[in-house]
Symmetry: C2
Subunit: 308 residues, 2 copies
């Protein structure tokens, strides 16, 4: 299979689509959150909007939009599901940043939610976003078919709960507390729970909304697993070799924390080779799809070649 | 309408049903949580089970079971929905007890989850339970009809989110921080969000699972609102007039915190009269139901006559 050339035109096409999806998802999130100055507590509303509209790339909604496009799912439903995924992602960032967890003061160059407001507000912002994610998926507007709405809810809960993101964060904290040496298998397992599960949900959501058959679902699952792991390895590489200005965030954080990473265990060259191998796997998983999968193809290449 | 006599026989019948439902819901929760020693993180599993199996009365699952019984919904489905409500209730207690929130060291005579484990674990326990609640409601076992499963998810999210429990907790914290004098309207609104919304969900869940018509739904909503408010007023009364040994918890906490309560604003006699009036309203709302509503009737009387 000839790999798509990731030339300037392909990069521009990907950027256009990323911008388009981000705008659609941001508009959906704006409608789904309590209005500015409104809600039960205006301060809670302000904090919710501060956490959500923080300049994220909306990569997870992009995966939902690109997977759903394979089955011609209408954009408004994909943006609603994308909003749910982004609410869940944001909740996990807000809680992970708390002093009792990773204790981060800055995210994307701005004070984290508990630094800008306070800890109680940040805990409640996370709780509200987590709850809202399930509400949005369960509402009839997300899909006329009730069964599918419930299926989406269960899929997101599986990705987010004790056997997904929450479990992964717990393993991460336990590893850091114990300070034990970790091997590739342990880090890989943690990554798959902490960040991989939601990426896999996103591709699965497109398939669920599109009523995809088993073969297409399996292909998308393989794609998601390869891209999710490649994304994490690329993140580790940026932290080691990256430039803070290009990355838009502090680099060298993992080493400073003594955190075990893919790069630490495989070396820079080994990690680069592994990321490239995963990109090939992701592209191979899409072999059965037509040109509607080009967004997913471009994203797989982008994930391992990005510098931030 | 003659009020049911709440004699020794009625009290015994209520206690038997409370025990029966608690056993059924505890068994369901035991099956739905990761098995002891299992799950992604055994420590997280241990903390989840510590938080959930802490001797709660399972009042919210009882409301689901008693409402669903009006429409002959099978017990196993009611227990599953009850497990979801109790997971949500437990998550809210674990997060509310955190140092950044109400900072409580003890709950039901045992160390709170963050005291027994640590803050990070308690935050993650809450997040996992909140997620699990939605998963359980969305799964096919809760009800064969997919649309209803999604409806349950949305109803729980409405009760739990920024316009429900989370919003109520935020208002509570803001009021305590500001230390402003509060009137009955403000406290009533906060109570309706913080504790009333979940009680209302429970009665609504029984109606949703039972495919109840509009009239029955409205009656159950009126019942739930009256019982929810009566429950809170009774709680305030126990805190002021109660005996710590009988209540099984410290009393006088609200006054020590300078917290505005119904009793503080209405006086003990006024609060007692209001609770009795609400009990009458709750019973009146059930007028259209037959003997299958006796559990709900007994509970309404119990709520305002209990001493703990």
């Amino acid at each position: 299979m000839p790999l798509p050339v990731f030339d300037a035109a392909a990069r521009a096409a990907l950027n256009d689509r990323l911008t388009e999806v981000a705008a659609g998802v941001d508009a959906a999130m704006d409608r789904l959150l309590p209005p500015e100055g409104g809600g039960a507590s205006p301060r809670l509303t302000e904090a919710l909007r501060y956490a959500v509209f923080a300049g994220g790339k909306r990569l997870r909604p992009f995966l939902i939009a690109a997977s759903g496009a394979l089955f011609d799912v209408p954009a408004d439903r994909l943006y609603r599901a994308g909003a749910a995924a982004e609410f869940l992602h944001t909740y996990s960032l807000v809680h992970d940043d708390l002093p009792a967890m990773d204790d981060d003061d800055l995210r994307r160059g701005r004070p984290t939610t508990h630094r800008r407001f306070d800890e109680a507000t940040a805990i409640l912002v996370g709780d509200a976003l987590l709850t809202l994610a399930f509400q949005v998926l369960g509402e009839p507007e997300t899909h006329p078919d009730g069964t599918v709405r419930a299926d989406l809810v269960v899929a997101l809960a599986e990705a987010g709960g004790a056997g997904g993101m929450v479990g992964g964060q717990m393993l991460d904290i336990e590893a850091e507390t114990r300070g034990e040496a970790q091997d590739l298998g342990t880090i890989g397992r943690m990554q798959r729970l902490k960040t991989g599960a939601l990426i896999e949900f996103c591709c699965r959501a497109g398939a669920i909304l599109g009523g995809a058959g088993m073969e297409a679902r399996t292909s998308l699952r393989d794609y998601a697993r390869a891209v999710g792991l490649a994304y994490q390895i690329a993140d580790d590489l940026i932290d080691v070799t990256g430039d803070a200005a290009a990355a838009g965030k502090a680099v060298g954080k993992d080493a400073a924390r003594g955190k075990a990473t893919f790069v630490g265990l495989m070396g820079v060259d080994g990690a680069r080779a592994e990321a490239a191998r995963l990109m090939d796997m992701a592209l191979a998983a899409l072999q059965g799809f037509d040109g509607r999968a080009d967004d997913l193809r471009r994203l797989a290449v982008h994930v391992v070649t990005r510098d931030r």
